[in-house]
């Protein structure tokens, strides 16, 4: 298998279209600013973050207990509970349930977990029509693209792109890219899909251990329509989605939408605690590498994530390189730490796709130490031997020189003599990555050390 391109290559490709890069950056910065206003409207914002952090720390430390409590209570509510150790098991469980009910048409609301498990192609290969019903997800599904953002799946597309896509698949008017028109057409199209569906699938934002129910937050009401119309409702939930009590949920619902889109709350915060009348409800609880992360001291806090996307919106790297530059289901800071935890070889460039600015950790409603995790994950990559050998050797050599001040001083002296007289064609040759878009600083005659010494001699 040929090596997949890393973040730097994919980023450079995205950046080539400067106008689009700036458009993408501004679209996400707009969301970040809305989030700032929303968070500033809550006086106790920082206390809420701290509370959320404490609740998650407690829950993740006692996850086995709360998962069992959740499962027991869910069963008492008449919900079927399944456990999947990985993506394959998850997909098999879902398919088995669908097959037993002879389901041909499935409607889904947003779920990054089913993206992570590649459920759609798995089911489609087995003859089941899968329709994503979140508007953004439907757009990218029609285009056969993965979501480029966990909350805003089609944020990389302009309204003109959406107009063209709908023209092709929904037979909308030619060159009409009026957002209201397109949304109405999508609504018509999706309404038919909802009515024809045999089963529905949702993700889970929160599973409440105390009550054995799940909570799904959407703005479009698509999860509600899906979960209410067909008689079969399945929900996929990562093991980390648990909160202990119903009252704990209020801390997270106050943080989630404000952090995600700057709304006080999502339009729909729906609690599912039992199947619909004469229907069935299933919850599939998925590990897929999460308990391995739980076992690491440095990275287990990445399981506190509530998938609000705030770290993605604020990330100056994501805003300028887009979701696909990461080559992982979840982009941005949170995706880079999860991706490196799950597969450091495949995702070896992700922890380096970060300037360590730490905006992510400060915007995170759960106070996850994202920048510190990305800093630490670079050691994961180096220790596993996946750092580029040339770069590693340069740093090894530099370290050796830096242990001998006289040698460093000599090297510096030589550079200050020769760099200024080098022809530009050599100084700015291909190997000078700095010099592609930037001038080098002028080299001074003396180092500080030399000036300091001279000054001492004068005194």
């Amino acid at each position: 298998m040929s090596a997949k391109p890393g973040h730097p290559e994919l980023a450079a490709e995205f950046i080539k279209d400067t106008e689009r890069m700036h458009w993408h950056d501004k679209a996400l910065w707009f969301v970040r600013e809305k989030r700032d206003l929303a968070s500033q409207s809550v006086d106790e914002w920082e206390e809420l973050r701290s509370l959320a952090n404490q609740i998650k720390t407690h829950t993740i430390d006692k996850l086995d207990f709360y998962l069992e409590q959740f499962a027991q209570n869910a069963k008492q509510n008449g919900i079927h509970v399944h456990w999947a150790k990985d993506a394959e098991e998850h997909n098999k469980i879902v398919h088995t349930i669908l097959k037993s009910k002879s389901v041909k048409k499935l409607v889904k609301s947003k779920s990054m977990l089913t993206e992570e498990c590649h459920l759609n192609p798995y089911l489609e290969d087995r003859g089941i029509e899968v329709v994503d019903t979140d508007l953004g997800e439907r757009i990218v599904q029609l285009r056969k693209e993965p979501p480029s953002h966990i909350v805003l799946p089609a944020i990389h597309l302009k309204k003109e792109d959406v107009g063209k896509t709908f023209e092709k698949f929904l037979e909308t008017e030619k060159d009409n890219c009026d957002p209201t028109y397109l949304t109405r057409e999508a609504r018509k199209h999706l309404r038919e899909k909802f009515l024809a569906a045999d089963a529905s699938m949702t993700g889970v934002n929160f599973g409440i251990a105390e009550t054995g129910g799940v909570v799904v937050c959407t703005n479009e009401g698509n999860a509600d329509l899906g979960a209410s119309l067909p008689k079969l409702h399945m929900a996929s939930m990562g093991i980390e989605k648990i909160v202990p009590r119903l009252e704990d949920l209020s801390v997270f619902t106050r943080l989630l939408a404000r952090s995600a889109t700057g709304q006080p709350i999502t339009s729909y915060t729906s609690h599912y605690h039992a199947p619909v009348e004469d229907g069935e409800m299933h919850i599939v609880i998925v590990d897929n590498g999460r308990s391995d992360i739980l076992a690491t001291e440095d990275f287990k806090r990445s399981l506190h994530c509530i998938r609000c996307g705030a770290c993605i919106n604020t990330c100056p790297v994501y805003r300028r390189t887009g979701g696909y530059s990461y080559g992982y289901t979840i982009p941005g800071p949170i995706g880079s730490t999860l991706g490196t935890s799950n597969d450091p070889k495949r995702n070896k460039t992700l922890s380096f796709a970060c300037s360590l600015c730490a905006s992510c950790s400060n915007v995170c409603p759960i106070m996850i130490d994202l920048d510190e995790q990305l800093y630490k994950h670079r050691q994961t990559v180096v220790n596993a031997g996946y750092l580029d050998k040339t770069k590693h050797n340069i740093l090894k050599m530099a370290t050796w020189v830096l242990k001998y001040p006289a040698l460093l001083a000599f090297g510096g002296k030589m550079a200050r003599i020769f760099v200024p007289i080098m022809p530009r064609s050599i100084l700015y040759s291909k190997i000078n990555a700095w010099g592609k878009k930037r001038e080098l600083p002028p080299f001074p005659k003396n180092s500080f050390k030399e000036l300091y010494k001279k000054r001492g001699e004068k005194k």
Partner: protein, 246 residues
């Protein structure tokens, strides 16, 4: 009070004037400052590239050289953040480390928190905008962050306000990363340069004449962009403004 002056390796080689101004400011306040000649690098480039083994050797060297000073002062937010936040992995439990960690300060932070000068001799009648470099900003807490819902402050502005005639100009995204990021500036060359250009344009559009800040590395990166694009603005390290008139 004996102060050990730590000059970041690249500043020693490339920015002797900004480094000398750092020393001058401290001496002008009557402080006893010494520059230990054996110092080289804190190991940040290695640590930020995941090379813990290499960073570990330089951290030990740094501790040996600086542990006996009452305070260690450096003209750099990110090198100080390295000592304060990242050295523990290598030096936890070593003799002198706790003292080193809690007594290493960035220049402006040291002036603001410890020396607390009420006046400076400097005059600088120009329009100045501040680059809040990430490590100084979010690790050393030099100013309030746009992400947080906490009272507004800026230690950098407080100290610069002592300079006669200085006029502050506000930019639109006042704590966005410039894209230098250490080895990031070459690993992610296209992105780093694009981020730098965006930052410089923000300062330029604000009507600023001088971009200043506490991290020379960020300013070097932005100056590189300015020189290539021939923009009518320039960067100046904060010590060079504070030392005017000395």
């Amino acid at each position: 009070m004996k102060i050990g002056l730590f000059i970041p390796c690249f500043m020693n080689e490339l920015y002797p004037d900004a480094s000398m101004d750092t020393l001058k400011i401290l001496e002008s306040l009557g402080l006893d400052v010494e520059y230990p000649m054996d110092q080289t690098c804190c190991g940040q480039p290695m640590a930020n590239t995941g090379c813990a083994h290499e960073a570990d050797q330089l951290a030990h060297r740094f501790l040996k050289i600086f542990k006996n000073y009452d305070y260690i002062v450096a003209p750099s937010g990110s090198c100080v953040a390295m000592v304060r936040d990242n050295y523990a992995q290598f030096l936890e439990g070593e003799e002198g480390f706790e003292h080193l960690r809690s007594h290493t300060y960035e220049l402006v932070e040291f002036l603001h928190d410890i020396i607390k000068p009420t006046s400076l001799k400097a005059k600088f009648p120009h329009k100045v905008s501040i680059h809040n470099s990430c490590h100084g900003h979010r690790k050393l807490n030099m100013a309030s962050m746009s992400e947080r819902n906490l009272p507004k402050f800026s230690k950098i502005k407080d100290i610069l306000s002592l300079v006669e005639g200085i006029e502050f100009v506000e930019i639109t995204r006042d704590d966005e990363c410039c894209g230098f990021g250490g080895t990031f500036c070459v690993t992610e060359e296209a992105l780093s340069a694009a981020m730098g250009l965006d930052r410089v344009n923000d300062h330029l559009n604000s009507g600023s004449q001088i971009i200043t800040g506490i991290d020379m590395s960020c300013l070097m990166h932005m100056q590189g962009v300015i020189d290539r694009e021939k923009f009518p603005i320039k960067t100046m390290y904060i010590s060079q403004i504070l030392a005017k008139g000395l």
